[in-house]
Amino acid sequence: MYASSPREHSSHKYSPHEHSPREPVRRDQGARRPGAMSSRAVLTTEADVLARSRVGVLRSQGALVLRPAHPKESEPLTHRRREVARVMLAAGAAGPLGGDDYSLDVHVGAGSTLVLTEASAMLVLPGPCGGRSHMRINVYVGEGATFVWLPEPIIAARGCDHEHDVRVRLERGARLVMREETLLGRHREPPGDFRTTLRVTHDDTPLYHQQLCVGPQADGWRGAAVVGENGAVGSIIAVDPAWESGAPATSAFHSSAILAPLPGPGMLVSAVAPDSLQLRRRLSAGLDTLGAPWAPRDAPLPEPEGHRDEVVSETEHTGAG
């Protein structure tokens, strides 16, 4: 089930059975459980002789609907650039629900640039017959290619059982900026079992590999070593071949967020926050710290008055490099 914006979730309560209207339109596409949905989508881009990026394959299926799009928000790297390919992922059905199996393959061909956005947040719910849902995303970014991936948050609803697995393979000389945001349950609700893994390799060398496990089956994640009492956790990974010869400095720019170099030509913004809006602000603030062309040129949202005191002052973190 998709929501129109992450903010709407904090004021809207769903019942666990609200997915029922979806049943009649679903078709069983080879999945094991009755009513479960299997969707496989493919997206490729290539550069033409004039170095403009074009979408090659745009294959949607079931719940995963891909369509050419206009810019959705101010974009790092590609802001106001017209020669790049822009595609939006939209929901063809609610979900994933328990038992569903989604997969998305993205191939950004050498020298091309793809901006992939998402129409709405993805709400992961339990299925009508139980079972685990899966979403596998495989991304390949070719030599000299750029992938700007700005999905909306994933919301792990109460009772869900979901495995989210994202693999990103970058060739040497590829550029990347990708965001991932996880909301731990809807408003005042504990999350179900949710495991999300992100692995990024650059030139066949591992750059980032992290899994986050939350929910009743995982232990200790509410402790202060993992996410504490926060309702939202997320990161931005940025990769630039220019950082092969030295990455920007570390910055502990907020009490709950950092910007730090990865072991390779990449930077990480990592943040936790009470809700999705503050998480987005912290992640964006981290990217802003990198300056142009990573900082979107439209003015960032100001932190509300009550949170300003948490921001670490400039003098405190300049020595952190």
Binding site: T197, R199, T205, P206, L207, Y208, H209, Q210, Q211, L212, C213, A218, D219, G220, W221, R222, G223, A224, A225, V226, V227, G228, V233, S235, T250, A252, S255, S256, A257, I258, A260, P261, L262, P263, L268, S270, A271, V272, V312, E316, H317, G319, A320
Partner: protein, 224 residues
Amino acid sequence: MAQGQAALLLLADGRLPAGGYAHSGGLEPTVQAGRVSDAAGLEQFLVGRAETTGFVAAVFAAAACERAVRDDIAALSALESELDARTPSPELRSVSRTLGRQLLRVMSTIHPHPHFALLGTAPHQPVVMGVAAAALGLGPRDAALAILHESVAGPAAAAAKLMRIDPFDVHAALARATERLDRLADAAANHADAPASELPSRGAPLSDIAAEHHRSWNVRLFAS
């Protein structure tokens, strides 16, 4: 496990002069940020640490031990780069390499073995722990258990210096954690012969954030 118990106690002993006592396992910045203030909070912190970074370290110690037992020292470099990728905080990568260098120095002196000379100058601590366990005749599960023990015993020992807490409460939490550590060591040993790229990675975002804040302090009690 009858064989090697004494060697395992030697390796896991906090009094081994490998520098572990200078580290709070991220507890110092966590207490300072107000995220842990009582015994219940400390126990949750320790459980979270064992289940995430402690488990990842245990998996890599087990994998390093397994490779050292079959003399495949060349395979350790893949473990090094995969562990780097599983440690997003540059400060924690550096701490792991400092502790690795110190453990390597101690082990090369107290129990020389040809493998130690092949590890480079600053290998990751779990990799050294695995190789050291193998040199002492121990197996992957022992290496995993030694590092899991340290991942909770280190911050537990630091707790008494960082917060107002009854030492009996701290050790009660450690006593309750023993079954968990055994279970995690079993799970870590099950991954020992998997390819390095497929080894699990469980993240702890607040530990990364705390470590990067901690390193910018001018005055601190612990090195990490």
